[in-house]
């Protein structure tokens, strides 16, 4: 399904796949903390080592990570240039008079790019190894204590489940509408950005209308299968913390502590 790997789970039976989604969400958070603790590029080696370890253990092909980075490449180039231009520095490499290219600016830009790559790669590791259902189950369970404050944990999880289920369906649908409009003479390729955005309207409106119809039919189908909200609902796949979850948590903790120690030592 084209470029969207975020949310596109790759089925597998590795140790990472089998971890409890709650553990994986926790690890993910710890990993993000690690990335933001790093202030000097070379210390990215630790979260990177952690990521590579996860990658090897999960048997996920590096190409999937590459694919998940593709949609943000424009953003990365943009951020790189912005930082290159506006970061002040002392070590001038190239003087154009009105602007100087400095070593600090290059380092800063590279630093930010690595940070983004590591963040997105980590996030896609979570979604590549965790089925959408397991992920929503995990989120539902993590949020369920908030039910006391009337937080709609089940409803939120169900909405996510359905959204994930319908992403490929709606993409197929938009492709069909696009072809149908093109057959009627619609032009999506030429013109400037504004024209092109405007030419999307004949795709978006039919897509919107058909989504409502789909929602209606799905609601009827769900009701026919005895859906009546989250009360009294059980799950086939029970979430259970097992021994590997404990190990994974300990390893993550070890990495986090190691990073903090190294950061303190080299300050």
């Amino acid at each position: 399904m084209r470029d969207i790997t975020l949310g596109q789970f790759v089925a597998g039976n590795s140790i990472v796949h089998r971890l409890d989604p709650r553990t994986k969400i926790g690890i993910m958070l710890a990993y993000i903390v690690m990335i933001f603790l790093v202030k000097d590029m070379w210390f990215f080696a630790i979260p990177l080592a952690f990521l590579i370890m996860g990658l090897l253990l999960s048997h996920i092909s590096i190409r999937y990570i590459g694919r998940s980075l593709k949609p943000i490449r424009v953003l990365m180039v943009f951020m790189f240039l912005l930082n290159l231009i506006f970061t002040k520095g002392e070590t001038v490499l190239w003087d154009l008079g009105f602007w100087q290219l400095t070593l600090e600016a290059i380092l800063r830009s590279v630093f930010l790019i690595i940070r983004i790559i590591l963040l997105v790669a980590g996030a896609s590791m979570l979604t590549l190894t965790t089925s959408p259902i397991a992920l929503t189950d995990g989120i539902e369970k993590l949020f369920s204590p908030l039910k006391v404050f009337r937080f709609p944990a089940h409803e939120l999880a169900m909405m996510m489940t359905i959204a994930l289920r319908f992403i490929p369906t709606l993409m197929d649908e938009s492709e069909k509408i696009r072809n149908a409009q093109m057959a009627r003479g619609a032009d999506f390729e030429s013109g400037n950005v504004f024209r092109r955005v405007k030419s999307m309207i004949p795709i978006l409106i039919p897509l919107f209308v058909s989504s409502f119809r789909k929602a209606d039919e799905l609601a009827i189908a769900m009701e026919s299968r005895c859906y009546h909200g989250g009360d009294g609902r059980t799950r086939m796949h029970q979430l259970r913390f097992r021994l590997p979850d404990l190990f994974a948590a300990l390893i993550t903790l070890a990495f986090l502590c190691a990073l903090i120690l190294i950061l303190i030592l080299f300050k």
């Binding site: 399904m1 789970f9 089925a11 089925s131 959408p132 259902i133 489940t161 359905i162 994930l164 289920r165 490929p168 369906t169 197929d172 119809r213 789909k214 039919e217 799905l218 009827i220 189908a221 769900m222 009701e223 026919s224 299968r225 005895c226 859906y227 009546h228 009294g232 609902r233 059980t234 799950r235 086939m236 796949h237 029970q238």
Partner: protein
């Protein structure tokens, strides 16, 4: 878990008594004084052209729509009583037209588990039911696949597996073959036939007369009324009834009748192309 006890005096699984229903803003009623009973183990087809009320009738069986007047009783339970709705829906599984719009989750086996999960069944029991349901539609190999990678026919079989996991008495197919290609249609019909052979009561709503040849009874609907009930053989022989309802008899039946007009000696129980070919080879 819901258990339904059949009322002893009622041998019918489904009973429509003078049911009338009208959609909002509609001029004519969608259902007009419908009386119908369905026996356990029956294979019933409901046919009619667009707007004849056949889908409206189907939606009354599991309480998706409630009669404006009259009563619908399923397994001895009145659909009008709020508390009956869940047990009724557990007994009446319903498959719909669009294969995409009735699957709730991304992974096949999790979708099949959706129904039993709603009933609050224990996890181990759900597992058994899911495995059984997938096996009975011949989709065990696809248990862990993503639903959007399946063909239309396979999606419909998964939808049926999701219904079977509820262990219903009755299977209602509301034009479930309408959006499938010929192969998907054959697949689905074979699955439904094999389920009927194991004792399932099947109600099939369709526009395609070819699909009804293996049924016990056909109900012909037109403008919200039942205009004919009978075996396929009886219904197909009433040419006026079919043409009044904008329906076309199966091709094999038309050919049979044309051949008979030309003096060919063929028995009346020929309903499918296969039977016709065999009879012609014999004569």
């Amino acid at each position: 878990m819901y258990t339904v006890y059949l009322e002893q005096e009622d041998s019918f699984l489904i009973r429509f008594e003078h049911v009338t229903y009208q959609y909002e803003n509609a001029e004519a009623p969608a259902l007009d004084d419908i009386c119908l009973t369905v026996e356990k183990g029956e294979f019933l087809a409901i046919v009619g052209h667009n707007g004849s009320g056949k889908s409206t009738l189907a939606k009354h069986i599991n309480g998706l729509l409630l009669p404006a007047s009259g009563t619908v009783t399923v397994c001895g339970l009145d659909t009008k009583i709020e508390e009956n709705i869940l047990p009724i829906r557990q007994q009446v599984g319903m498959a719909f037209q669009n294969p995409d719009n009735q699957l709730v989750t991304t992974v096949v086996e999790e979708d099949v588990a959706f129904g039993p999960e709603n009933l609050g069944i224990a996890p181990d029991e759900i597992r058994t039911r899911v495995d059984e349901a997938l096996a009975s539609v011949g989709m065990t190999a696809f248990a862990e696949k993503a639903v959007h990678h399946l063909s239309g026919g396979q999606k419909q079989r998964i939808a049926i597996a999701g219904i079977l996991a509820l262990r219903p008495e009755i299977l209602v197919l509301d034009e479930a073959t309408a959006m499938l290609d010929p192969m998907g249609r054959t697949e689905l019909l074979e699955t439904v036939r094999s389920l009927h052979d194991t004792g399932m009561t099947v109600i099939m709503v369709t526009q395609y007369m070819e699909e009804t040849t293996g049924c016990d009874r056909i109900v012909v609907m037109n403008r919200g009324r039942i205009v004919g009930i009978g075996t396929p053989q009886e219904i197909f022989s009433k040419a006026d009834l079919l043409s009044d309802s904008n329906l076309v008899p199966p091709e094999a039946v038309s050919i049979r009748d044309l051949l008979k007009q030309r003096g060919c000696d063929l028995p009346d129980d020929i309903l499918t192309a296969k039977q016709l070919a065999e009879a012609l080879c014999r004569s």
